[in-house]
Symmetry: C2
Subunit: 388 residues, 2 copies
């Protein structure tokens, strides 16, 4: 098989996450417990407890409970979508949603265009199923262009490669860029004309902070061959549920997903299904909390970066991560980040794990104190290394 | 890619499970709720509730909590094993454990010997990762030989094919046969001499009903290249947890498993991790209940089959399924089972989904009433079709 490389960002986090004090690498908005899920009455909390403890733990609804799927559909339909239970496939997290989609859609020899940088899984698993790393073509975003897409480049890549699938990620991890409504419309138009699938990893949706024309979910643009993946992990602060989903109006894709899902999932956790349903019925209140945390942290980060000529950024408009450029000629950001861990107890993800030396990924959805103290450590690092 | 067929038994169950009254297809021992987990005090139940509701739902311990892994290790060590936390990889169910193992171990061109019949996933996913259906070689078991293995045949298959991996399933689904200690010793010896991995799907362990020399887990025979997969679903009556595991003393395999796991799992559900830990600390009490249910149902089934010349079986020594031979020349058991669903509201799995026409898989771990009433329906079917 195609030898699959290690998942760089996961391995990096795994190696260092437990030996630091200030975590500026976390990508989830600060996680909450069941007790802390906002917007619920004591009575509904009691009912949840009853249900969790008295439900027989069979495989449950193999395709996810109708209640869960209705709650997920609501998120899409509150922005004018027309998603039904039949359009939703629950999975173990967004990691499971992306994996399942690629397992179901990418066959030997299929070409796939993948936005770059993005979550490494999307390109790497495509390579496994397409059997040839050369079949996965990066569509590169650049700092200089504010991480916005070059649509002419996309047209060219499609014409040259005749891909089966385009994979994008909106809001984007690591950059925090949001491609707005107009851009998404154009991408859908281009792919629709070329008759190719679009998978949009929307796990950071709908976390928008300063977007002028927020996009709808990719499945809400009227083009059937679109697929949205997401989960409760990032915007909804509940990564511990391992509850993700694939949404598409393409029933042929749904059938393929369920066929493969028999081989690697069967069903999602009954406890997660029940708790996820409970949580998503107050998803707006959860989001409100997430917005506040991100705004506070973004303000702090923004002030720091504005006052630090050694750093520059494209201010993130969404999600909970940003990709900061280090203005030091030839800087080895991997070494810099390891030094930050070992000498300053501060975790930041080096751009190298996204194939971009000279950048830092900072997560701003987590504790404000970690950001404040972490930035102080960063200053100490710069001073002690005589960078200015 | 290798076009992967649908998962026949899952598709069959999916299609019919909801429109019947008597379920003789269920393979889990009758599932329980959290409240029904035996062997726990009210105080520990209260503590569980506290913990479930107050734990922040982060990704949790990426590699599973130490408490969970200790509880899993205990099952292996109570029979004299030497399993530590480092030897265990938690997954989403045994389906996830098998999938992850094959994803990590089977590369393009690798040959794999798979016992047949067995759970279809084991052969089918091996075909996907080995890239060629011809690389997956069935090692056939037969009714006439009581589903016991022909070790000469195994030696021959190994010599001819030089496989990387042997996959067995003990107790076996669908037959309920148990390969005892002596047989497993010999298989380990053969594979050890040939230096090949053994994956033993042990999801029905340790459900033994009438085994003279019960085998230990495959990882407890002192051969490093052995891998055990299992879960809370079958013997432990908690399929809704989606909590499985891979166990191996081979740290090179562990590293490969975690590398792939970053791409399709990240971590298991925090709620499942906590609840699974709670449940497995009283796994012996859960098993006691499972034994009782299986014994009651097996007695009923045994009497029926003894008195029904149209049927014969190799009485299952373990697990919760048996594979019953229908002594009717040329019988189309697929049609028979569909008739049983449509006309008699009774669900039995046809041998065809295991590639064996003329057989029926009956699950005996579930409700006794389903077995009793289902058998009455079976009699009606025979009578109305003039079989005798």
């Amino acid at each position: 098989m195609v030898k699959q490389e290690d998942f760089a960002v996961e391995q990096y986090m795994d190696a260092y996450e437990t030996c630091i004090e200030y975590n500026m690498a976390e990508t989830c908005t600060a996680s909450i417990s069941i007790n802390e899920i906002p917007g619920q009455s004591q009575e509904s909390l009691n009912q949840l407890q009853q249900k969790l403890f008295s439900t027989k733990l069979t495989y449950g609804h193999i395709r996810g409970s109708p209640e869960l799927k209705n709650a997920i559909a609501q998120i899409y339909n509150d922005e004018g979508g027309n998603i039904t239970k039949e359009d939703i496939v629950p999975t173990n997290g967004a990691i499971g949603a992306n994996f399942l989609t690629l397992y179901a859609l990418v066959d030997e020899g299929d070409k796939v265009i993948v936005v770059d940088p993005t979550y490494q899984q999307l390109a790497s698993v495509s390579k496994v199923f397409s059997r040839n790393p050369g079949n996965v073509i990066p569509w590169r975003l650049n700092f200089e262009n504010n991480y916005l897409p070059d649509l002419e480049e996309l047209r060219k890549l499609i014409n040259e490669n005749h891909p089966k699938l385009l994979i994008i990620n909106n809001p984007n991890n690591p950059t925090g860029v949001v491609w707005g409504d107009e851009i998404i419309r154009e991408i859908v138009e281009i792919c629709s004309q070329a008759d190719i699938y679009i998978l949009c990893d929307e796990v950071y949706r709908p976390l928008y902070h300063s977007t002028v024309d927020p996009p709808k979910s990719i499945v809400n643009y009227g083009y059937k061959k679109t697929i949205s993946t997401s989960s409760t992990s990032k915007a909804f602060s509940l990564a511990g549920l391992r509850l993700g989903w694939v949404v598409t109006k393409d029933q042929e894709v749904i059938d393929k997903l369920y066929s493969k899902r028999d081989y690697n999932t069967i069903s999602v956790s009954t406890l997660d299904d029940i708790t996820g349903t409970y949580a998503l019925t107050s998803y707006k209140q959860i989001l409100e909390r997430s917005y506040k945390i991100c705004k506070t942290n973004l303000d702090i980060l923004g002030k720091y970066i504005d006052n630090t000529p050694l750093l520059s950024w494209v201010k993130p408009q969404g999600g909970s991560t940003c990709f900061v450029k280090v203005n030091i000629e030839g800087i080895d950001t991997m070494k810099m980040c390891v030094d930050l861990v070992e000498q300053y107890k501060t975790l930041i993800v080096p751009g190298e794990v996204f194939g971009r030396r000279g950048y830092l990924r900072i997560g701003f959805g987590n504790n404000t104190e970690d950001i404040e103290k972490g930035l102080e450590q960063l200053t100490k690092y710069f001073v002690s290394n005589n960078y200015q």
